[in-house]
């Protein structure tokens, strides 16, 4: 094959079975993600987008079909599949620096340079000795990103990472994430319910529909880098995806007044 696919998903079906009810979270998903790309996955609540990301990250097991990351079938989490949760998930009793050290493999535990490098990358060098409670939500999420990157992942999976942040912090972090993506050349997959975010960040936007979770459409946005939030291409790509979610009939409503 011409392009290396870091993620290959074939006939993925996931059923949650709690003994009483069977819920089909994902049905027959087919997806290929090429190395170094940035993919957004978007859909309403219950469409299985987070479940799919968690399966790729090895956090959900017992699925049907094949999920191959970096040439290996996924059945457990690992450092090479960096995962950013919606909450920063820093250990409250460790300082910023120690939180990153905690995550590192044994042979890197004493590598202060590595910790400093990634804290500098997210612009938080001065906060290495701060406790998580002293950080704002945006800063804490930056530390979580630094922690993931310091482990040199092959792929970074982001599960609604900016969902809990205010609009301005969110835009800033999106910009930073794009810069990191360009600099580190890591494959990134972001799950979001924010259409603007999905279009702005993803080169490919995977649109999912619920009950059962399926891929409806995959868009190429071709915004290039650096991207513009105000350009024609952005608006056009966004409008197309809006139409996926809101029926044609609802769109002309504003013209009829």
């Amino acid at each position: 094959m011409a392009v290396n696919n870091i993620v290959e998903i074939k006939h993925l079906t996931k059923i949650f079975d709690d003994g009483k009810n069977n819920v089909k979270a994902l049905e027959d998903i087919e997806l290929e993600i090429s190395e170094g790309s940035f993919t957004s996955i978007i859909g309403g609540s219950g469409c299985g987008k987070s479940t799919m990301l968690r399966i790729i990250g090895g956090l959900e097991n017992n699925y049907q079909g094949d999920v191959i990351v970096n040439g290996e079938k996924v059945n457990s989490p690992s450092r090479e599949k960096g995962f950013i949760f919606q909450d920063h998930r820093l250990l409250p009793w460790l300082t910023v620096k120690e939180n990153i050290r905690f995550s590192l493999p044994k042979e890197q535990k004493k590598n202060d340079e590595l910790i400093k490098k990634y804290l500098a990358l997210v612009g938080l060098s001065e906060f290495e000795n701060a406790l998580p409670k002293q950080l704002s939500g945006g800063m804490a999420q930056r530390v979580a990103i630094a922690r993931a990157l310091a482990n040199k992942p092959k792929i970074l999976l982001l599960d609604e990472p900016f969902g809990a942040l205010d609009a301005i912090t969110k835009v800033n972090l999106q910009e930073e994430l794009l810069k990191i993506w360009q600099k580190e050349k890591i494959t990134m997959i972001i799950v979001t319910h924010d259409i603007d975010e999905a279009v702005y960040l993803g080169e490919n936007v995977v649109v999912m529909t619920p009950r059962p979770g399926r891929i409806k459409q995959i868009y190429k946005t071709d915004l290039g880098t650096p991207r513009l939030r105000t350009g024609v291409q952005f608006t056009k790509a966004r409008d197309e995806i809006y139409k996926e979610f809101f029926k044609e009939a609802e769109v002309p409503f504003s013209y009829n007044i």
Binding site: R89, P92, W93, F102, L131
Partner: protein
């Protein structure tokens, strides 16, 4: 600094108002001739007895005997509760194995163990340490188990992502995560230890604050009884204050 002091004076005034009112009412009853020496001492008599006990060394002797017993029983309980608590938390099979026995022993109050303790260990130090141990061990144990159980599962998921080995997981997630709850257990446990030592000493002892209480009763000396009670109260508060201070020093992240 000055502002803080001004604030401190208002606080201090409010803080000591109730004790002062109690003393005034007490002395009021005395002035009215309502207090009988064999039921309730006057403040002057209580003060006199305190000075007497302080001078002849009985005050120090009784209190040090009790404090020492409490510390011995408490630390024994602390070590046992932490070890068993961690084993129960970390090994589900060990939890099942021990659960029924622990659940049945738990509701038995420390006082109920006194007869057996005397039969087993006599009326010496050992039986008291045993009673104190029983009083302190359960709250620490239960809070340790509860502390581990209530650690947010998301941290264990995080540990999986970063392939954290079990020893690191225990050191960096389980112990600090359970620590606030363990500290609560330690405070309750030490309080129970103090209650237990008084109970044990009241039943069979020749020294200690519990002995002061039972001795004062048999001599019809309420001044000795009240002095003993005040010692229990004051030392209990001091120990609790020390633990509160330690908690603030150890748990800096909350």
């Amino acid at each position: 600094m000055e502002e803080k002091n001004k604030k401190g004076i208002g606080y201090l005034l409010l803080y000591i108002t109730l004790p002062v009112i109690i003393l005034i009412v007490w002395e009021g009853f005395n002035q009215a001739g309502e207090l009988k020496p064999y039921t309730m001492p006057s403040l002057a008599k209580l003060f006199e007895t305190t000075v007497e006990y302080a001078n002849n060394g009985q005050l120090f002797e009784n209190i040090s005997v009790s404090v020492l017993l409490v510390l011995e029983g408490f630390f024994l309980a602390l070590a046992t509760a932490l070890i068993i608590g961690m084993l129960v938390s970390l090994f589900p099979k060990f939890d099942i194995f021990t659960d029924l026995v622990i659940q049945i022993l738990k509701p038995i109050p420390p006082i109920a163990w006194i007869p057996l303790a005397i039969l087993w260990f006599g009326i010496g130090q050992e039986s008291k340490i045993f009673i104190i141990f029983i009083g302190a061990v359960f709250p620490i144990f239960l809070n340790t188990v509860d502390g581990v159980k209530t650690i947010d599962k998301k941290y264990f998921e995080l540990a999986k992502v970063y392939e954290i080995p079990r020893s690191q997981l225990i050191k960096n997630i389980v112990i600090p995560g359970a620590l606030p709850s363990i500290m609560t257990g330690i405070r309750v446990g030490l309080g129970n230890a103090w209650v237990s030592v008084v109970a044990a000493e009241m039943i069979g002892a020749t020294k200690g604050v519990g002995y002061m209480l039972s001795n004062g009763r048999s001599l019809s000396r309420p001044d000795i009884v009240i002095l003993g009670m005040l010692l229990v109260g004051i030392f209990g508060k001091i120990m609790d204050d020390i633990l509160k201070f330690l908690r603030r020093k150890v748990i800096t992240w909350l």
